[in-house]
């Protein structure tokens, strides 16, 4: 087996890490976090701009609930006075809005009206409902996405301009669905903020883009009190977790190992903060989750390696600590790489298949994992090595002192050996 000289990297690693952390702290103190809605009182809305396509009403008894999915629409009828059933209309066999409307109207007591060109393809319909879509006398509108580039009517700058002074808008998915993330900050001046703002946002957008073309898909409101609680809670939890890991690792491995593990994890957290600050990524609950996950992940890594060091020292008590560390790190290198890669596969799966804050979460995790692997190899072991070296020097000094005092030198090394044995 090849033994890599990881120990050579200890000092350069310490310098690089310190530089990165300082950079992160500088960023934090000059710019601060790009706080998300969880930490900053305000409203986050996901708004979609779409064309009204169909209007559906129901005049019968019982409940009729309309659901619009990607490829079909269905109405679930339930209640005592009517026959309970589900009627499904798929867009493929009802290819145009005109045909679809006729199919709707063919259902007893359901009426549908086309608000758009009759020949428009049904597949353009999108699920835009705010949930409860119980049909009744008041018409329920179904929307469709633009059919070509020319129909796309709202670049994000225009949306942002329409909301000027009220909120700011960013694009959520650039895939062409005209969906935007709108954020309005609660400055505490309006007591009814959570009620007035969504209405104001909708009104402003409808004024610019036309009545009925604005669909709110998601609304999050966080009040000042909530965000304060969350920040405090997060910090306390972070510290408590670190403390617990320290205690557990100290009991199982000895203090220098426990401290080394904690140092490595705090290092990873700081590197992630550096990343989040400088990329201006939104800092929200997902970011905290990522931080705390890396805490667990990085410690996991570190402990597997310490376990090897512990074992090796028991088997070869005479060896230099430096050799023991290099051997342990080399032996577990395969495992470190494989585990990191396999976890990265899943992190990438999350990154590519989810949207919104989970995407950010996956990205932060990715950075944290790289840092975690690196810190396990260089920071945690580096610290333990540095500590052992110091202890060695102290022991040597004590030894020299005692030898000078004329005490029998042969007895002492044994005693000091016993001491290290205990520390493991």
């Amino acid at each position: 087996m090849r033994v890599y000289k990881f120990s050579r990297g200890f000092i350069p690693a310490a310098i690089v890490s310190t530089a990165l952390i300082v950079l992160g702290l500088v960023g934090y103190f000059t710019m601060g976090f790009n706080l998300g809605v969880d930490f900053q009182a305000g409203i986050n809305q996901t708004v979609q701009l779409a064309y009204p396509a169909l209007e559906v009403t129901y005049s019968g008894k019982g409940n009729a609930v309309l659901t619009v999915a990607e490829d079909k629409a269905f109405i679930v009828f339930s209640g005592a006075e009517i026959e309970s059933r589900t009627v499904t209309l798929d867009y493929k066999s009802n290819a145009t809005l005109g045909v679809l409307a006729a199919a709707f109207s063919a259902i007893p007591e359901v009426q549908a009206k086309v608000l758009d060109a009759e020949a428009t393809a049904s597949t353009l319909l999108v699920p835009t409902f705010q949930g409860d879509t119980r049909l009744g006398g008041a018409p329920v509108t179904m929307h469709r996405v633009p059919k070509d580039e020319a129909e796309r009517f709202a670049p994000v700058a225009k949306v942002d301009a329409a909301l000027k002074g009220l909120a700011e808008a960013t694009v959520v998915n650039p895939a062409g669905q005209q969906r935007y993330l709108v954020r309005a900050q609660d400055k505490g001046t309006d007591k009814e903020f959570s009620r007035n703002t969504p209405a104001a946002i909708k009104a402003a957008l409808e004024k610019e883009f036309g009545q009925g073309r604005v669909v709110v898909v998601k609304t999050d409101y966080v009040g000042a009190r909530y965000s304060e609680n969350l920040s405090r809670q997060a910090l306390v939890l972070f510290l408590l977790t670190v403390l617990l890991i320290l205690v557990y690792a100290t009991i199982r491995f000895g203090f220098q190992y426990g401290f080394g593990a904690v140092l490595a994890t705090v290092h990873d957290a700081l590197i992630m903060i550096c990343f989040v600050v400088w990329t201006r990524m939104e800092f929200n609950t997902s970011t905290i989750a990522a931080l705390l996950t890396i805490l667990g992940y990085s410690v996991n890594d570190t402990i597997v390696q310490f376990d090897r060091v512990r074992e090796d020292r028991k088997m070869n008590p005479g060896d230099r600590f430096l050799d023991v560390v290099n051997r342990a790190l080399s032996l577990t290198l395969g495992r470190t790489i494989i585990t990191t890669l396999s976890t990265m596969i899943t992190v990438l799966a999350i990154f590519f298949f989810t949207s919104g804050s989970l995407k950010d979460f996956a990205l932060a995790l990715f950075v944290g994992m790289i840092s975690g692997t690196y810190s396990t190899l260089y920071i945690a072991s580096g610290f333990v090595y540095w500590w052992e070296q110091k202890a060695e020097k102290r022991r040597a000094a004590a030894l020299a002192l005692e030898a000078a005092g004329g005490v029998a030198a042969a007895v002492k090394p044994k005693a000091s050996e016993k001491k290290t044995g205990k520390q493991e």
Partner: protein, 576 residues
């Protein structure tokens, strides 16, 4: 432990896990949507549905019987026939060969009994589906769509108003009143049953699955609960009762109106009478009262209310005190309406009624109910006397369509994650990689089952937690496999290498997982939803992976060496 015994343990674990997962499978895949729609309603809505269904069936049966129809009943009467067949059996009568409307009806003593039995049958059927829903894995709002609101009760303002700091009992009372007001309004709309619960010291959590219109939330929270005293129109109420005796479904559910215009005079309205069920929730008693539309007295005049007992009979009574102006108004009202009924109405729901025996001024005594009812009434009266300010702390509304999207995202992430890990492990470890993947798939299955068993909510972050756990939990297998490879490199046999590998990797896996679980459990304490879901799945996944990696993987290896007598171990492309 022998392999057989270990195998039985693994099978037992899989079996138990399946028992927990079964309701979820049943609900999400085999329950028709229309049955789901009824089952997610509130108990009151279910009751109303059963009543209407029973009434419809009885009317149809009576019509068929009167027409002398001798044909067997159509299949939609299957349930009714079942009830009748049971009755025949109980009274030891031979069941008729053909179930006609007449033979079914003769099973019951009278029409009322038939109605009750059929209603009970319908209700039991829907409640069984509802119970299945309760045992199925719950989807978080981000997956199902819906709204959640955290509402803050302003106890400080109340304390200021009262001029002293609130005692623990007073705080409790104030919170109860806040929840009472919310309960009152929230049930009146929507198709799904809302969740209202107290959170912490002074917050209330409200969740309405399936609906996401923020306007609605506002209508619930706004205001303080409007309490008023109305005079009951006894004559019209009596007319309504006779009308309902022949037309049990005469009152329209939504508008609370009847078709016959002669029953309710102008200026009067029909309202439902409610009482508390054993859970402290409002339950419709089935009684309707006709009350004057204009309240006789507004509830804002109430100054205090408490419960005491009659000095002679010991019967509980509710006493309340009005302010001076209210006392004058009340005196005029009660003088003019002696021997009529006075209804206490909160947000259009009648909560109590009492006969006016004599003209009353400020100090009012209401009698004639049980201790529980008297307490409830006092609580309701105090909601007017000591209104509690409610404000929104945080609010989330997610459209159902967005939820669907999230489910697809989560599913894809899981599939690709597992597949990626599988390919990766196979490339690195060959046969052993397949073993590790089996352990991970089992891990996922057990995680879902545990999540269901503990009634935890499945959210998109918790799905992310699952995906991530799969990647991280592979670590245990990797540590073991690397060890086995090392042992094989020094020339050990398959069996010896496996033994030594598992043995020596044990503590490393144990220590590293415990620390991860510590971090995850702490994370789970963070009060916020998304992180919690993520952390819980991380913690569960790590614990389960200890079992699958150490126990199940080992069993598969041992099965290969002992039962299949393999001497070669497929763990690397390089080691032959």
């Amino acid at each position: 432990m022998s392999k057989t015994r270990r195998f039985i343990i693994v099978l037992a674990v899989i079996g138990i896990a399946f028992a927990f997962l079964y309701p979820s499978l049943n609900w999400y895949f085999f329950t028709p949507k229309e049955d789901q729609a009824i089952a997610v309603g509130s108990r009151e809505q279910i009751r109303e549905y059963s009543r209407r269904m029973a009434f419809k069936d009885i009317t149809e049966l009576k019509r068929l019987a009167a027409a002398g129809d001798e044909k067997p009943l159509p299949s939609e009467f299957k349930d009714v026939v079942g009830v009748a067949a049971k009755l025949y059996k109980e009274s030891r009568l031979a069941a008729p060969k053909v179930w006609t409307a007449k033979t079914v009806l003769t099973a019951f003593d009278n029409e009322r009994a038939a109605y009750d039995a059929i209603e009970a049958k319908y209700r039991a059927t829907v409640l069984a589906v509802k119970a299945r829903h309760g045992n199925a894995v719950q989807l978080g709002l981000d997956l199902s769509g819906g709204m959640s609101v955290i509402i803050q009760a302003d106890l400080e303002a109340l304390s200021k108003k009262l001029g002293h700091t609130l005692s623990a009992a007073e705080r409790e009372d104030a919170m109860k009143r806040g929840i009472e007001v919310l309960n009152n309004r929230i049930d009146t709309f929507g198709l799904t049953e809302p969740v209202i619960r107290r959170q912490g010291e002074d917050q209330i959590y409200v969740e309405i699955p399936g609906t996401a219109d923020p306007e609605r939330i506002n209508s619930i929270i706004m205001g303080r609960g409007k309490l008023a005293f109305h005079i009951v129109d006894d004559e019209a109420t009596a007319r309504l009762e006779t009308y309902l005796a022949s037309n049990p479904l005469g009152v329209d559910e939504k508008s609370l109106k009847v078709a016959d215009a002669g029953i309710v005079p102008a200026g009067s309205v029909i309202r439902k009478f409610y009482k508390k069920d054993s859970y402290g929730l409002d339950e419709f008693t089935g009684r309707y009262l006709v009350i004057n539309e204009v309240p006789g007295l507004d509830g804002t005049h109430v100054q205090s209310a408490q419960v005491s007992s009659d000095p002679i009979t010991g019967a509980p009574e509710t006493n309340f005190v009005l302010d001076k102006q209210g006392g004058e108004l009340f005196y005029a009202l009660t003088s003019a309406n002696v021997n009529k009924t006075l209804a206490v109405v909160l947000d259009d729901r009648i909560k109590a009624g009492a006969r006016i025996q004599e003209p009353i001024r400020e100090s009012v005594r209401m009698t004639g109910f049980g201790a529980e009812e008297a307490n409830n009434l006092a609580l309701i009266l105090r909601t007017a006397a000591l209104p509690i300010e409610l404000s929104v702390v945080s609010q989330q509304a997610i459209g159902a369509s967005l939820g669907e999207e999230s489910i697809v995202q989560g599913r894809n992430a899981i599939l690709v994650g597992i597949l990626g890990v599988f390919v990766f492990m196979f490339l690195f470890y060959k046969g052993a990689g397949v073993n590790a993947t089996i352990a991970q798939v089992l891990n996922l299955y057990l995680m879902l089952s545990i999540l269901t068993a503990f009634k935890l909510t499945l959210t998109l972050p918790s799905i992310a937690g699952f995906v991530l756990t799969i990647g991280m939990a592979v670590d245990a297998s990797v540590v073991i496999f690397e060890r086995i490879k090392e042992e094989m490199a020094v020339g050990k046999s398959r069996k010896a290498a496996i033994d030594a590998g598992f043995h020596r990797a044990f503590w490393a896996i144990w220590d590293s997982n415990i620390t991860t679980i510590i971090a995850a459990l702490f994370l789970a304490q963070l009060g916020s939803g998304p992180i919690q879901g993520f952390a819980v799945s991380l913690a569960i996944g790590n614990m389960v992976s200890l079992f699958t990696a150490l126990f199940v993987s080992r069993l598969i290896f041992d099965f290969g060496s002992d039962t299949l007598h393999r001497s070669h171990l497929s763990i690397s492309w390089r080691i032959k």
